[in-house]
Amino acid sequence: MGNITLKNVSKSFGSTVIIPGIDLVIENGEFVVFVGPSGCGKSTLLRLIAGLEDTSGGTINIDGRDVTGEAPAKRKLAMVFQSYALYPHMTVAKNIAFPLKMAGEDQATIDRKVKDAARVLNLTNYLERRPGQLSGGQRQRVAIGRAIVRQPSAFLFDEPLSNLDAALRGTMRLEISELHHQLKTTMIYVTHDQVEAMTMADKIVVLNAGNIEQVGSPMELYKTPRNLFVAGFIGSPKMNLVEGAPAAKYSAKTIGIRPEHMQISTTAGEWKATVGVAEHLGSDTFLHVQADGVGPLTVRADGELAVHHGDTIYLTPDKAKLHRFGPDGKAMAT
């Protein structure tokens, strides 16, 4: 089991309020991603759940049990750290075995579980090595191995992939998702990378300045962002946000249109624009344009589109996919 409920959980360091008060329900087996810019309190929130920080107020329940004042070890959670946090003086096998040893398991059980974990994570050939002799990806696998052997009620990941290069990050992302399908255990994953959030999560929690801006599935957040912050944060490249006359035309303070929701024409359209940089990625082309009376926009076009610096194009936003925001920054009813 791995139901986690936060009720009005708050955290302050001295007079600095990091998290004013959060309510959140995480269901058993869910893959929940906390995402937000740096300093938004996402790691602090994870550490509060882990018990590595004390709450300033509110309660944390795990499987119906109030664990607010309990030590990390008693919460039956496992954590994977950004720096891997492996024990440098122990071999891979001993690193993975450590939580089992602490739990007082007998040697035969420890050996069996370590071997099982090593097999799942492709570490069988590295069991006698020390962390210093492993690559970044292998170290991260050891950290995950140390987490899975305990069969915790939930896994906590604190930006586990940010120390890896882009290619390895992609692979590890898939491996963690695959692991979640295999284990079906609750996972809470903290990242500032919205691509990781979109690709891995069942449920995304968008945080900003210690507050939850929106909770929902990746597609809910993509399709119906509740406010300007979520609109700007979720999606890559970012949603174009336009104020002034073009927004007033749609009776809004701000309108948002995603780069992929604009039609491009070389002859006619709603907004006339001059192409600045064109990034040709093969499958897609990202155009950074300057639209007259609108401002800078990013447009996603077909990879084959032949436009170059200085060309004039015409853009027409897809009205059905246009987002309108009021003066308070909140989404307006469509």
Binding site: A73, M79, S83, L86, Y87, P88, H89, F98, M102
Partner: protein, 274 residues
Amino acid sequence: MARAVTTQHKTIATVAAWIVALLIFFPILYTIITSFKSEQEAIQGFALIPSGTFESYTEVQAQSGYFKFFFNSVLLSVGSTVLALLVAIPAAWSMAFSPTKRTKDILMWMLSTKMMPAVAVLFPIYLIFRDTGLLDSRIGLMVMLMLINLPIVVWMLYTYFREIPGEILEAARMDGASLWNEIIYVLTPMAVPGIASTMLLNIILAWNEAFWTIRLTTTEAAPLTAFISSFSSPQGLFWAKLSAASTLAIAPILIMGWFSQKQLVRGLTFGAVK
């Protein structure tokens, strides 16, 4: 061509390093050589080949009793180091793992006491020792040596502990380790090299300390530093005997330093080289 230049540079660097090393080591070498000369040979002038006599050694031992001083040196250097570690480990630990706004200031203040010349506090310390009956006592000197080296010990340990990432301790906590298990299985194995090199350096510093050990002792607690200085006495200078005494005084620490040089270099350069 590039390779030839590199080899040439290497040779020059090696030769230069040997020259510097010899220059630094020469006084010690010459002391050792002189200790194997007779008194007459020693004052005759510069000579690198001694006659090989042991008379200075036997005389020194007969005259002053080397072993008592040696025993005091061992007791004072090891004792003061153990005392210093007992105080410094918890201090450095708390400053490294739960620092406050004032931690840096406290560390600087501790270090600043080393910037003061020892002679500046000679009178107050001497009077305290006299009035408390600690003059010429091993305990008093042990505490004194511990105090003068404490800033360096705390700094070294602090720097070393700072290199242990806090996340590893948190990982241990998440893995179900109690505080005791955390100390036994995670902290200590990671800190042992740092503690060991700090200990070695402190033993050497305490062994070589000459200001306080000479001034606060007479006979009972006097270590090898006092043993050496007793040979430059009113009876005149006896170079060969003085050299024999010096050789006997530095030999133990030189041998210890030789065997632990790897650990020492690591200890002295940590933080600088990763």
